[in-house]
Amino acid sequence: MSTSVANSVAILDVERLRQDFPALHQQVHGRPLAYLDNAASSQTPVQVIDAIRGFYERDRSNVHRGVHELSQRATQSYEQARIKVQRFLNAEALEEIIYVRGATEGINLVASSWGQANIKAGDEVLISALEHHSNIVPWQMLCQRTGAKLRVIPMNDAGDLRLDIYADMLSERVKLVAVNHVSNALGTVNPVKQMIAQAHAVGAIAMIDGAQAMPHMAVDVRDLDADFYVFSGHKVYGPTGIGVLYGKRALLEAMPPYQGGGDMIAYVTFEKTTYNELPYKFEAGTPNIADAIGLGAAIDYAQAVGMDAIAAYEASLLDYATEQVTALGGIRLVGTAQEKASVLSFIIGDVHAHDAGTILDREGIAVRAGHHCAQPVMDFYGVPATTRASFAFYNTREEVDALCRGLEKVKELFG
């Protein structure tokens, strides 16, 4: 191992950080849990749980309404969390941070609101071969409604997007490019900054699905020049049911509301409604206050650990896992892109991923077995499913070793 990798491992005191995650310290089927399903959902540190509990125990009330003390406290915590998100993403303005249920809702908001106002028959929407279903289906629905054409940027066998073909696909007909920053099924890190610049060059806007990127690397939406960027709280050590849509202010201002209701209005009569200003125009109804506050605490936590340290540590852990799993023999890695984050997807001989997943579970090892909500990726490789281990900064080499021992059991049972 190189010196630089060894140094990066020392950056994090993983044993100490693990103490913050109560769920990691349990036995599953009599074995110590090795939680390697972070791409599906991460675990939550006690600091986030405390923030949510604090809201329920002290400040529980509605936001943006009451003149009373509790409502003011709740509003302040809820809006403080928005400032944390803004800084985490390096967004220019607070108004550009819209709370949503998760990345999926963020994409649907863009497809419904921006899409309905800006996409017409003959236009083209580009997505990639690496997308999660949540970044495929909303665009299919939009294209069906409008008569626009959905086109797919292909990938090579390693799981890298074919940027040469992408360049050829770009034309004035393309109005939107929607790609993920990091692939959930393969771990490919896409060169989104370059792809966004290319989209802008033909007058298209770019929406980036950052669900798998936010937990693993520092993201700067202004540096990327992303028009929209979405992520989910539960993958970035936060609670479930909360996520964020970032959008450039000018785009958001020009967009019609997504849902109608309370909070998104300035003035209502039965004849006409004046919509509230950003970001509230897109936050109809009582929002997910507790989990927004929890998300703010998760961002504080991740920033205290340090996103660059997380990225460096996880890169060395992924290298180690790739080496160790490959060394077992008889295992085919699915997705060997030049740049990857967090994800090791593979097939064990002719053993189906669900059988492997069940056997690993009995060894206390939590992995995802299946198509990872990315069936087109599975079709590309001609497999029904893969076994996927996905890492967070609190995972250890010992857990990778436990995975390898579990994989030996799989081979033994099906030998």
Binding site: H352, H354, T358, I359, R362, G370, K409, L413
Partner: protein
């Protein structure tokens, strides 16, 4: 490993690696598709039923995990020369076998009469895998009922 061995018995491993009746029946009298959208297991079941209502041939094609493949393999072997009523009865027995705790099994259905399907008794300890074991059986029931819909066991 013991619970895992209960699930992955030799017979199941054997049938998953060398599925029996893994072919198309060109002159099938009924066909049905089974699909588990969550895990992607897919199969097409073919039955050839004669005028007396006896299943003369049963076969399947598809792709799935060891449990679903072995289940389809063993089921098609068991269905041959069974009447439609007997086939429906086997469906009920199998369903009980994999979904109920062993202690609650109807004594008439425990062990005796189950034949090779008894190897699936370990499945009820693995709730996430019940749908794998039952996919072929639900598909068979749909084929007998002449249902147009795909069987799902999610």
């Amino acid at each position: 490993m013991s619970e895992l061995r209960d699930l992955y018995q030799e017979l199941i491993i054997d049938h998953s690696k060398k599925p029996r009746n893994f072919r198309v029946i060109e002159d099938a009298t009924c066909k049905a598709d089974g699909f588990n959208p969550l895990c992607g297991d897919k199969l097409r079941l073919y039955l050839k039923v004669d005028d007396e209502g006896v299943i003369r041939d049963a076969a399947f094609k598809g792709a799935g995990c060891a449990i679903s493949t072995a289940s389809a393999s063993i089921m098609t072997s068991m269905l041959k020369n069974q009447t439609l009523d007997q086939a429906r009865n086997l469906f009920e027995m199998f369903h009980q076998l994999v979904t109920r705790p062993n202690s609650e099994l109807n004594p008439e259905h425990s062990g005796i009469g189950l034949g090779k399907m008894a190897v699936f008794a370990g499945v009820n300890e693995f709730p996430a895998r019940v749908k794998c074991a039952t996919l072929a059986w639900h598909t068979m029931k749909n084929a007998l009922d002449g249902a147009e819909v795909e069987a799902h066991t999610e």
